[in-house]
Symmetry: C3
Subunit: 149 residues, 3 copies
Amino acid sequence: LYFHETVYNGTNAADATSAIVAAPQGANLTILAPQNYFGNIVIFNDLITLDNNIHSKPVGRTQGFYLYDTKDTITAWFGFSFILNSTDYQGSINFIGPNPVFVKTRDISVVGGSGDFFMHRGVATLRTDGFEGKYFFGLRVDIKFYECW
Amino acid sequence: LYFHETVYNGTNAADATSAIVAAPQGANLTILAPQNYFGNIVIFNDLITLDNNIHSKPVGRTQGFYLYDTKDTITAWFGFSFILNSTDYQGSINFIGPNPVFVKTRDISVVGGSGDFFMHRGVATLRTDGFEGKYFFGLRVDIKFYECW
Amino acid sequence: LYFHETVYNGTNAADATSAIVAAPQGANLTILAPQNYFGNIVIFNDLITLDNNIHSKPVGRTQGFYLYDTKDTITAWFGFSFILNSTDYQGSINFIGPNPVFVKTRDISVVGGSGDFFMHRGVATLRTDGFEGKYFFGLRVDIKFYECW
């Protein structure tokens, strides 16, 4: 009952697949909020690839949201799903948890899934895999399932 | 440890029980966003009935949010709870997961609950049960619990 | 496999650590929405203390969001994490669930965690622990873990 998968996920807050949809008083929806983005909610829909090359063949998409929740540093809170659609895996995996982006590795919860990931639980370890400015970054996501069916 | 319940849930994005509360740049809060609603967050509070007649006696309410997260088709991501208050069931059930609305059946995660649904986990299968225009739709939710206490 | 912790959590919607970031049509981001705050989303980042004195030594922070989802009374839906950083506990705990604030005690789900709370599941019982006006309130959170690793 141990499963290990390495998925690279290129997330780009400025490209066509994500958008700032909420901001605190005094901020707007085209520029990340002034106090370490505190108060922004971003909806995203990004390709998932098996390596850190955003041009590799995608194996699925990741869909959901994150919000920035600290004023004096950058931390986020994620709620999202992987929708995998490859020859190896079919199904969805659902995640929630905190992402303090300046910590080297940070763990969020895998709370369930469907298809190949039916009723799975586990932990997903996030690592920043490069960024360009504040509107583009890549995330490496290592998923370990500890409960399967 | 197997439990099966069929609940019909009438959700209506235009009635008095839901509201668009966030939208991407260029959209507003009274019209769903132009690219397949991408970037909208909707907060809802709908009656739950046991059949698909919205006028049937309600057994509870469903409360939470969904967001639209794809530009070239309609997909949503849900976080919500059922608050059941009937002679048969008392308690809450908490759900998260993706809802690609044009797929015939789609599974989201039951991640916990309270009262009669204390510590339950399972899968909820969503089916569209009719819609009128883009501001009204009904959802059929079949819940199977695989872990109970 | 039974764990009991009492954490007091002072949450203040008007202080510098939380903000209204979404509101329905006709409302704004500096005043809670007119119909029992229906349609507001609030992002928060609050200190956690072991007793109900907000000036006690903090043991961590709680980060995430809640939204108000009823028009004729006040109910909220929470998604958040505790980030504990004390000599006794290190790690995060992830929560989701409904918070009908006028019910004396209400249970939400602990769906996972990291560090000392790796793969934990359980129930968190919320109690209102005093409020001042509608922009300040304290929450008492009692956490019981029923699944640990």
